[in-house]
């Protein structure tokens, strides 16, 4: 029967028609029935969200919403269950009111493909369009929970656990690896996070002070762009924690005002990025300090500043100038700097053992360290009290933190705040504004080396020009000029074969061993007294003496300063030619007793010498017309009515027509040195006459003993008495042969003097 049924030929038309109709009906039913992935097993509570599991869709009845295929338990697909409409259908207030949190403000992007900067792990599914959707992070069946759970057991139904933003970091791996991506540190505790931050919507981490993604970002209900908890267009969020840096706003470093067209690495204008992000980017910055601009190699603590202030930039803003304070150097002071003046390692991190960088002196976020409300402004020229300095440089306090050795300038006449308050530097600031340092030195855009802040004056060497800036007849120190006759400057000591411990300088004023003698070889312009600091400074224009006067060394009672170069001349100390021994009350031409002038200064004035010859400080003695002028120096004292009138040789002349040369005795270093002087000029020459200093070295008592005197008046003999040489090797024997040994002692004795007769030698009795 069954076989017959399938044998169509045997079947009647009636049966065949019935069978065909049945088959067609069956086939039609199969074709018309939608393919449902599940049997009729959905539970109502599941269908609260999984609407497409509803049995109504398995019937032929019209439904008020269409069935959407491909959304039931299909891995990596977005089902209706994860659609925004389903979420909103409960979170619109009737179960939980999330309208404000999720839909009013900004939220994590959905229905977009992930950017190339994130990596979506397989645990977090994308939609069929490879887009992010609610279900990427959320699932009612997920294993995630709020960081600390919830007393009501409610969670944000995270798909994965979200402890300290770990869910965020599953995708945002670059941001999580902040050290490698130059981003804002996360999972670090650097400070106590302010309560205000949390009242703004920040999520607390397991440690409330730990920074996590959700410290700044809010996935739903973000008030700010980039799902920041608040808008950061004015850097409000940054400033919540970085409160001190907030002082930058409205200063010149608020680029919204000063460089409004300059974009950061994200190509954001300052008006878009906010004042902080104009220079700092929280993610993927160019380097240290989240720098948001291109950074050249070098120490970041300086290079960041040079991004805008470098000489090679075209910004119409402050540049550092050709002459600027050096950076990347050891601090000038050996003492530890205060904490508010940090030093930096090579990588730009603070290091007490580091070097001076821009940030050592500048706090780029605060215009005025003492008055935070003072913002300066775009057009305001800064001065020593503001200018983003770490501390007010009023009275040069900031400079002196490092340059402690210059501190004594404050209590000296070189403190122009006191002695020349109207004197201005090239910036137009007078001393009370610029500070005592700033009136002569400015850290940037200086006029000349050594940060010189005044117009150089005169045509001498650079250092002299610095000094004569004030010490000229129209300058602030016109009362303190050096006159026409002064100690030579701008001379190479090497030329004179002089070695000295005093500093020598090159043409730019830098110390160098083979440099020149300049003013500051002898003077330290920042220190009035080289020995004892001035404590009770009552000025002004106090008259100095050989112990102070900005000298590098005290020159009395020991002639230490002069000795530094003129070592052989300093042997005069303690001898009869030291007026402190023999005539302490005697005054030189400018009225100084030896106590003021110093031993050297009693006879030589390095400045304002009335006499050019040997800068002689005393009145020339009277000499015969035929006598060498050099002798007039000796006769200043060794003449009647003067301090050495008891030491006047009865006769001290050599026959003038006998011109003598000292070619063989002109070497100053030689023991037989015997100088000959030009009769009129007094300068050393090789042919002339015998004069006092030919035989006498006024600075050394005994030719055999290169030592100072013993501060006692001595009666000399032929072996000392300031003679240059012992008698058996003096210049006399050149002409007089060994007889000179005997005749010599009669040189100053008219009785024994042998004068030349017209016909021969005549012994004068």
């Amino acid at each position: 029967m069954v076989r017959d049924l399938f044998n169509l030929k045997l079947m009647s038309v009636k049966y065949r028609t019935a069978l065909l109709t049945g088959v067609l009906l069956i086939m039609a039913c199969i074709t018309a029935t939608p393919v449902f992935p599940l049997e009729l097993s959905s539970k109502r509570d599941c269908v609260v969200c999984h609407i497409m599991w509803m049995d109504d869709f398995r019937t032929d009845k019209e439904t008020l919403v269409e069935w959407q295929p491909g959304n039931v338990l299909m891995k990596d697909t977005q089902g209706v269950v994860s659609s925004e409409e389903i979420c909103y259908s409960c979170h619109d207030g009737y179960v939980k009111d999330s309208r404000d949190i999720v839909w009013k403000y900004n939220r994590h992007p959905v229905y977009v493909r992930p950017s190339k900067n994130v990596t979506i792990p397989p645990e977090l599914p994308l939609s069929v369009k490879d887009e992010l959707y609610c279900g990427t992070c959320h699932s009612a069946h997920g294993k995630g929970a709020a960081p600390h759970g919830d007393p009501f057991g409610r969670t944000a139904v995270y798909r994965e656990v979200n402890i300290d933003s770990s869910l965020c970091e599953m995708c945002h791996r670059n941001e999580a690896s902040y050290k490698f991506s130059n981003g804002h540190p996360v999972h670090t505790i650097a400070m106590k996070l302010p309560d205000k931050l949390f009242s703004m919507g920040s999520r607390k981490a397991t440690d409330p002070n730990k920074v996590i993604c959700q410290t700044c970002h809010k996935i739903h209900g973000a008030r700010g762009e980039k799902i920041l908890i608040v808008s950061n267009k004015g850097s409000e969020l940054c400033a919540t924690c970085h409160e001190q840096q907030k002082n930058l706003i409205e200063t010149k470093h608020d680029l919204r005002a000063t460089l409004p067209e300059e974009k950061n690495l994200k190509q954001q204008l300052p008006s878009e990025s906010g004042p902080c992000s104009a220079c700092h980017m929280p993610h993927n910055s160019s380097g240290k300090r989240l720098w948001a601009r291109s950074l050249k190699s070098g120490n970041p603590a300086t290079q960041m500043c040079l991004t805008c202030h470098g000489e090679d930039t075209t910004y119409k803003i402050k540049h550092t100038g050709k002459y600027s304070h050096p950076i990347n150097i050891e601090p000038s002071s050996k003492e530890k700097l205060p904490e508010y003046m940090p030093l930096f390692s090579e990588d730009g991190t603070k290091n007490p053992e580091g070097k001076v960088q821009c940030f050592t002196c500048h706090n780029v976020h605060t215009w005025d360290p003492n008055f935070l409300t003072n913002k300066g402004g775009k057009e305001v020229e800064g001065d020593a009290s503001n200018s983003f300095l770490r501390m007010s440089n009023h009275a040069s306090a900031l400079c002196l933190e490092c340059h402690k050795d210059k501190k004594q300038l404050i209590t000296s006449d070189h403190n122009l705040e006191v002695t020349a308050p109207e004197e201005k530097n090239v910036q137009g600031f007078n001393a009370p504004v610029s500070g005592p340092c700033g009136v002569c030195h400015i850290p940037h855009n200086a006029e000349a080396p050594h940060l010189w802040s005044k117009k150089l004056y005169g045509g001498n060497d650079f250092v002299t020009q610095m000094c004569t800036t004030c010490h000229n007849n129209k300058g602030a120190a016109k009362a303190k000029l050096i006159g026409d006759n002064y100690h030579p400057v701008d001379v190479f000591m090497k030329k004179y074969n002089i070695k000295t411990e005093l500093p020598l300088f090159d043409s730019e004023g830098n110390k160098t061993a083979d440099g020149k003698l300049v003013c500051i070889t002898c003077h330290e312009p920042h220190t009035w007294d080289p020995v004892k600091p001035v404590l009770n400074y009552e000025f002004k224009n106090m008259e100095g003496d050989a112990t102070n006067s900005f000298l590098r060394k005290a020159n009395f009672p020991s002639s230490d300063l002069c000795k530094a170069c003129h070592e052989d001349k300093a042997l005069v100390d303690g001898t009869d030619h030291d007026l402190n021994v023999t005539a302490p009350d005697a005054k030189n031409l400018i009225g100084q007793p030896v106590k003021e002038s110093g031993t050297c200064g009693a006879c030589h004035l390095v400045h304002n010498a009335p006499n050019k010859l040997k800068l002689w400080a005393r009145p020339y003695g009277t000499i015969a017309q035929s006598e060498d002028v050099i002798n007039s120096l000796c006769k200043s004292c060794h003449s009647k009515g003067n301090i050495s009138e008891n030491k006047i040789p009865p006769i001290a002349t050599h026959p003038e027509e006998r011109l003598i040369n000292n070619v063989m005795r002109s070497n100053k270093e030689s023991l037989d040195y015997a100088p000959i002087y030009d009769r009129r000029t007094g300068k050393e020459t090789s042919v002339g006459n015998i004069s006092c200093p030919t035989c006498h070295n006024a600075h050394q008592w005994s030719p055999l003993l290169k030592e100072k005197g013993n501060n006692q008046k001595l009666e000399g003999n032929a072996t000392n008495s300031f003679l240059r040489n012992v008698s058996y090797n003096n210049i006399c024997i050149d002409c007089h042969g060994l007889d000179a040994l005997f005749r010599f002692k009669y040189y100053h004795d008219p009785e024994d003097r042998v004068e030349k007769q017209q016909e021969g030698i005549r012994i004068t009795k």
Binding site: L25, V65, D92, Y94, V95, R99, K104
Partner: protein, 340 residues
């Protein structure tokens, strides 16, 4: 068949009301007689074309209210014709005239008198007093018609969970104020004069007078209370005495069924309008609870789709006000005659 089973269950629940029972029987018979031939029809046509035509109640669009709303939730019209919209996320009530012109608003975010924290529902009494369910502040605030604060009812919950008032209705005859407590799944009745609590009824559950997240409600002319019982996907009808009367709608996505019922309104004929925010439709039910129609789209000749419709209101001019929450507008329609 599933549909049929559900109908039987409802029939069982309606057994205490003979008239409604007869209606249900007739309705089910009609379904059976209609559905059986359709199975064969579908088999031959082999297409997903709807087998049932749904009666449509046509409406004519008048205008939309938009005034920088942020997810508004409910709407009510006073006897004077002023339209009050609860603009909850903006923490304000915005008032419009009958032409849809903005008149004034009141409220701001906060906890003080006259301030709101994400209010949801609204009720207006015959004197024009405005009652706002200030959900986030766990209270109902009462204002005069111009938005001047009058008084408030601080809602206390019986089980310790903070009260979550989502809507308010005023039974002036009984001197009662009914307040929906969404999170506590119950209704509170307060004395209108003393503002003291009279009673609370309802509990979490699926039975009669039990709720799962009740949301908005309406009061008809005979003082019957219609409460949208959202997760139970029904509108429960309670008598003026607070007794269970009937349920409207059931779980599903076919006509007469709900997935996310949110708002309810009663027209002058006692027809019950229920919005479904997920399905985006407003369905109309007979006073006895049977499905009557869906609000139609005249142009398409199909069921009209709204964007997350929530609170709805029908005024004495047969205007239908629909809060389209996610679209952040209130659309206003004139209800017209039905079409099959």
């Amino acid at each position: 068949m599933i549909n049929f089973i559900h109908r039987c269950r409802r029939f069982h629940r309606l057994s205490k009301r003979p008239l409604l029972k007869i209606c249900v029987i007739l309705s089910n018979l009609r379904t059976i007689l209609f559905c059986v031939p359709c199975v064969f029809l579908i088999a031959f046509i082999a297409s997903p074309t709807p087998a049932h035509a749904i009666r449509l109640t046509n409406v004519r669009h008048l205008f939309d209210l938009t005034h920088s709303f942020k997810q508004p939730s409910d709407v009510a019209v006073s006897k004077e014709g002023l339209i009050y919209v609860v603009d909850g996320v903006n923490n304000a009530v915005k008032v419009f005239n009958q032409n849809g012109k903005f008149v004034f608003s009141f409220g701001a975010k906060g906890q003080a008198e006259g301030e709101f924290k994400f209010p949801l529902g609204i009720g207006i009494d015959s004197a024009g007093r405005v009652y706002i369910a200030d959900s986030g502040n766990h209270r109902v605030q009462i204002f005069n018609s111009t938005g001047v604060f009058l008084s408030q009812i601080k809602i206390t919950s019986k089980n310790g969970r903070p009260a979550d008032p989502t809507d308010v209705s005023i039974d002036e005859s009984a001197g009662r104020i009914y307040i929906v407590d969404n999170d506590n799944h119950c209704i509170h009745a307060y004395d209108r004069a003393t503002l003291q609590k009279i009673e609370s009824f309802g509990a979490p559950g699926e039975g009669d007078r039990e709720f799962r997240y009740p949301f908005l409600m309406a009061l008809d002319a005979e003082r019957y209370l219609y409460i949208v019982d959202v997760i139970n996907t029904r509108v429960q009808i309670l008598s003026p005495d607070g007794l269970y009367v009937a349920s409207v709608g059931k779980w599903g996505v076919e006509k007469g069924e709900f997935f996310r019922p949110k708002g309810v309104a009663i027209d002058r004929n006692g027809k019950i309008y229920v919005s479904d925010s997920y399905m985006g439709v407003i369905q109309v039910f007979e006073p006895v609870g049977d499905f009557y129609s869906a609000i139609g789209d005249t142009d398409k000749g199909a069921v009209r789709k709204f964007v997350t419709p929530a609170g709805i209101f029908i005024d004495n001019k047969d205007r239908l006000y629909v809060v389209e929450m996610f679209a952040e507008k209130v659309s206003v329609y004139q209800i017209e005659k039905d079409m099959e």
